[in-house]
Symmetry: C2
Subunit: 192 residues, 2 copies
């Protein structure tokens, strides 16, 4: 899972080796393997320990798979068909205890998602987050109540050979770079 | 940094050992140490690799410290005074390239924050996220432009002795638990 990213400062391998491939092998994963990803999400921090995150999953070759898979745009279906699981990530808008709106519910749920992604790396799995799916339809067909927000969909699987991808996706199958630190880290005052 | 959390499924140490102490030692950290946290954040995933996250930081014993510290509510000041750095986390609302609203900007920025928190564990540092500060004043005094949203403040430091905390905070200085998986992980359909 090593990649060619160059870091300006030392970073734990499990963080820099995480990336979002589309070339998945089509191999299955066990429910146990998937549950470790949710277990990792479980231990994320959240404001007042509110734990606003929810996950709706489907393993491939189960009756639930088509329900999640059909939500994806065609582009994402073209490669996510080889995922072992799809996971819809949802957040609760209000605090569980007080019912007051939580300004950090999406942010905290993003932290839980990253725990999933990092846990996947540590298990030899890969994840690819997507916003290319029908959010409104997801809410309806997965019975997500009012007061909850759909955040993202994630494909989970095992890394496959790049040459199994459609040609136009092979070009895109690269470890992405990032902007330099000085464009988003500021001392004492924001500079846009 | 080991703690007593019990997991239902195996999880990487760096994830389950992350927690949010308030007992900080008052020791300084180097700018280099802090930069590794931002470097970790840098490699988080985001929709279309948009990288919506921004960080405004102050190391203690610098002219910038008071600007961030003064934003905190008194409760957080009572312990965060022993932090080595404060970091305000900000997200850009719209995609950089298209100017269109990004529905995942808070969520993606939460992923970057969790990378920071995990990187801290791997460096022997601790982090504590806070929403107990003046968001509106933060926007003003840190010159955060319109179109950017303040997400959270984070105290970064080294773990200190619990008995250095004010008595009422010593009681709260525990590794928090989480709700069980079956309350937030669902197969195929949401159950609230």
């Amino acid at each position: 899972m090593k990649n060619q990213r160059k870091t300006s400062y030392p970073v734990a391998d499990v963080i820099v080796n995480r990336w979002s491939p589309r070339a998945l092998s089509g191999e299955a994963i066990s429910k146990q393997e998937l549950m470790s990803l949710f277990e990792a999400a479980r231990w994320a921090p959240s404001s007042y320990n509110n734990q606003p995150w929810y996950f709706v999953y489907a393993l491939r070759d189960t009756p639930q798979w088509a329900t999640l898979f059909d939500l994806l745009v065609a582009f994402n279906q073209s490669w996510a068909k080889n995922a072992a699981a799809l996971v819809l990530i949802v957040s609760k808008d209000d605090f569980h205890k007080t019912g007051k709106p939580s300004r950090t519910s999406a942010f905290d749920t993003g932290a839980a998602w990253e725990n999933m992604a990092i846990q996947a790396v540590s298990q030899g799995l890969v994840t690819h987050g997507m916003e290319g799916f029908d959010y409104d339809k997801a809410k309806k067909v997965l019975n997500i109540p009012d007061g909850y927000t759909v955040q993202a969909m994630v494909a989970v699987g095992k890394l496959g050979q790049k040459n199994l991808l459609p040609p136009e996706l092979q070009e895109k199958e690269v470890v992405t770079d990032r902007k330099p630190l000085n464009e988003f880290v500021f001392e004492g005052s924001f500079s846009s």
